[in-house]
Every structure is written in C-alpha cells, then in structure tokens.
C-alpha cells in the first residue's frame, strides 16, 4: 500500500513543498527570536512509522518535544523534536532575545519549545495549504521531555501498521557563523490512515494544476 503512494513523483512534490516550508520556518524563527538562523537544506524523509525514531537517532535518545494534533482536511499528529543537548542552546537563545523573566524556581524554562513548535507547525501547514489547497489547523502544543521512542509510542500504537507514513523534516540551523556544530531540529507529521489518501490525492491534483 505504501509503495503505491510513495511514488517518486509524489515524494518530490512533497519535498519541494516542505523545502519552502522550511525556508519560511527559518525566517519566522529569525523574526521571533531576533537572531540570525542560517539554514542548510532540510532533509525530508517519508517513512513507515516503524522507522521514525531511527531517523532522529537512538530510540532512547532524550529529546524535548512539542506535540500538536492536526484537524481539518488532514487529521493526525505533529511533533516538533529537539535533541536534549541542543534544547538548552535554543532556550538560552530565546530567553536572551525575547527578554523573558526567568521564574526563580525554574532554572530551565522549556516552555519556549512548544511555542517554537507552534510557529513551525503554522508555517508548514501554510505551505501545504498554498500548494495543495488543504485547510489544516493545529491544536495547542503540549510539552514532553523524554526518550524519542516513548514520545512517539502513543501515536504509532494508534495507527495501522501497514499503510502509515511519517513525514520527517530534519532542519539544521547555524545560529552564528562561528558555529561548527549545527543545531538540528525535527518536525514530524503523521497523518491518520484515512487522511493519507486525501494528502496524496491533493498532491496529485496540485501537480496537474501547476504542471510540476
């Protein structure tokens, strides 16, 4: 079933769409965080659900994650995942640039991660809307800090194993020109089983329309 949907032509179009989304995401982040983000070309993977955690890295890798649901033409889940060691870097950036007051009790306030996830989701869904004419909205993000596998468990469990796909967008950002190690974030979209067909059909329609 997956092979039918993951024909090269669909995948290329999806990648193109997500590329543009990533560019807009970097711009949005720059504006919100008032900091220069150099983005290298994002890598986009369309996979069966069982392989999701391997793209991100070790299934037991600690990450910070913001989870949102998709509602509208496409239903499903979205995850914005930042590896734990890079979370502190991102949070520090946010706190200096947004000028947040740190709560006295909290040495680390991770609430900026769901906010960034919110922005990313909006940007990618807008890209899908512009290209495929699908109206998709996302719900309020919730935060978790744990192992990748554990975080994705609930969603992967609740779907049919055979025809489920995950769209993984891996972005690498350089926060400053002196940075040698880029910061890597992952944005996962898991459309529900009944929504995959809608997504693929819309891509097919859009390709016909735009003659890509």
């Amino acid at each position: 079933m997956i092979k039918k949907y993951l024909l090269e032509e669909y995948k290329d179009y999806l990648e193109e769409m997500m590329n543009i989304g990533s560019g807009n995401a970097a711009t949005a982040l720059e504006q919100i965080l008032a900091h220069r983000f150099d983005m290298s070309k994002p890598s986009i993977h369309v996979l069966p659900t069982t392989k999701a955690s391997s793209i991100i890295g070790d299934p037991a890798m600690p990450v910070t994650c913001a989870k949102m649901h998709m509602v509208g033409d496409i239903r499903g889940d979205m995850f914005f995942i930042v590896p734990f060691d890079q979370t502190k870097q991102l949070v520090a950036l946010a706190q200096t640039s947004i000028d947040r007051k740190m709560k006295k009790a909290d040495t680390q306030d991770y609430s900026v991660i769901p906010e960034i996830g919110n922005i990313m989701a909006g940007v990618y869904l807008a890209a899908i809307h512009d290209f495929c004419n699908l109206n998709i909205y996302h719900t309020v993000p919730v935060l978790a800090k744990d192992m990748v596998q554990a975080i994705l468990d609930e969603t992967i469990a609740g779907v049919s194993q055979t025809d489920k796909i995950i769209i993984v967008i891996a972005n690498q950002y350089l926060t400053s020109p002196e940075d040698k190690t880029p910061m890597e974030t992952f944005f996962l979209m898991i459309p529900s089983s009944d929504s995959i067909k809608t997504l693929m059909d819309s891509i097919k329609e859009a390709k016909k329309l735009y003659g890509a």
Binding site: A60, K67, M147, Q149, A150, I151
Partner: protein
C-alpha cells in the same frame, strides 16, 4: 559465560531459558509483560502496543469461536471493545493435564505472525503457549509488568489513554489466566527502559533521569 542481551523492539515477543537478558527501550504507552517460571528459569518477554482484539481477521484456531461471540457482543451498544472481548478459552483450562497443550488449539503454534505481539490478548496467549512448549509449567509462571505511561498532559484521562487501556487489558488477561502479578511500574508520564534477567527473574526499570527501580 558471556551474558546474552537480546533487544526486544516494539511489537516483538520472545521466550528463552536462562541465562539471557531481555531489554526494551523507550517504553511510552507500550506495556512490557515479563512472564517467569522461577523453577525452570524460563522467561517470556513481550513489548505490547495495543489492547484487545480490534477488528482483525485471524486465521487462528480460536478465531471461529471469537467471531461467533463478537457478533453477539456487537449488539450491545456502548461497550468498549476491550470490555466486549469474546471469552477466549483460557489456556489454563486446556492444559490442566500436565502443562502441555494437547492439540492445535494451543494457539501458540499458529500465532507467530507479525502482529502477534502487538495486541495484549494474542501476545499473552502466544507467550504462555511458547513457554509451556519449552517446558514451563503454568502453575509456576508469575508476571511483572511495566509501561503504560501517558506521555503528554493533554487533558485525556489516564484510563482512556492507550497506556491506561493497555495496562488494564494486561491485568484482566493475566487475572483470567490466573497468573499472579508480582510487580509493576505502570502509569506516570515518563518513558522507561526495562531489563529482564532470566537467571534471577529480576526486572529492572530505568528512566531517563537515571533512576533505576527493581519491580
């Protein structure tokens, strides 16, 4: 002698004799069920994804009995599918005569399909069947369970979440099979790693913060 460590990924289950260590990482809503026959040091370990038997077609010998019952159950409205599970003949009853399954109704023989260990009922049935096939005695088998967390605070009740339903289903099934649960570490909002040592029957649960707990 080097201790063999077997990694059990999501949706897999295995039965072995000591000395072996079964290990599973990244347990969120999934539940790990460990079954141990302490006298013979035979252990079964399954990493289970989902509760119950939801609209799957099976070619198992027990399936005809299930289908008949599910039709009746479907008439009752408002029943959750786990509550409407057909009464699968308990393995205890079929093996009273000495711990070995008598005929092809030992579902274990036919159950090694890909999705066997994805669901609680088929997973536990398969584990028990395989353990008895390898010589374990049902009377000596005890269980420990871990997992079934609700990772995100999204306003859903724990009992309605997949983790909660997994744990409830496993407990129901073990109770039906009259297998005691000697230890558990379930619920919460954190992921777990589970190690099961077959030489001693120890199950060690560790979390991302480095905390280890033996159940």
């Amino acid at each position: 002698m080097a201790l063999e460590k077997i990694m059990i990924i999501v949706g897999k289950g295995v039965v072995r004799k000591a000395p072996v260590v079964f290990s599973s990482v990244g347990l969120g809503s999934c539940v790990v069920v460990t079954l141990y026959d302490a006298k013979r040091h035979i252990g079964g370990f399954a990493h289970i994804l989902l509760p119950g038997n939801r609209q799957r077609t099976t070619t198992l010998p027990l399936s005809t009995a299930r289908e008949r019952e599910t039709k009746n159950e479907r008439r009752k409205k408002g029943m959750r599918y786990e509550d409407a599970l057909p009464q699968v003949p308990s393995i205890v009853l079929t093996t009273l005569s000495g711990g070995r399954p008598r005929d092809s109704a030992s579902a274990g023989e036919h159950m090694f399909l890909d999705e066997t260990y994805h669901y609680t009922d088929t997973a536990i049935a398969a584990l028990l069947a395989e353990m008895t096939r390898q010589g374990a005695s049902l009377r000596d088998i005890a269980a420990k369970i871990a997992g079934g967390a609700k990772m995100f605070a999204d306003g859903e009740h724990y009992e309605a979440s997949i983790g909660g339903r997994n744990v409830k289903s496993v407990k129901q099934l073990l109770k039906k099979e009259k297998i005691p649960i000697l230890g558990e570490d379930t619920g919460g909002d954190y992921g777990r790693n589970v190690d099961f040592h077959l030489d001693s029957g120890r199950v060690v649960v560790s979390t991302i913060g480095g905390m280890k707990k033996e159940i």
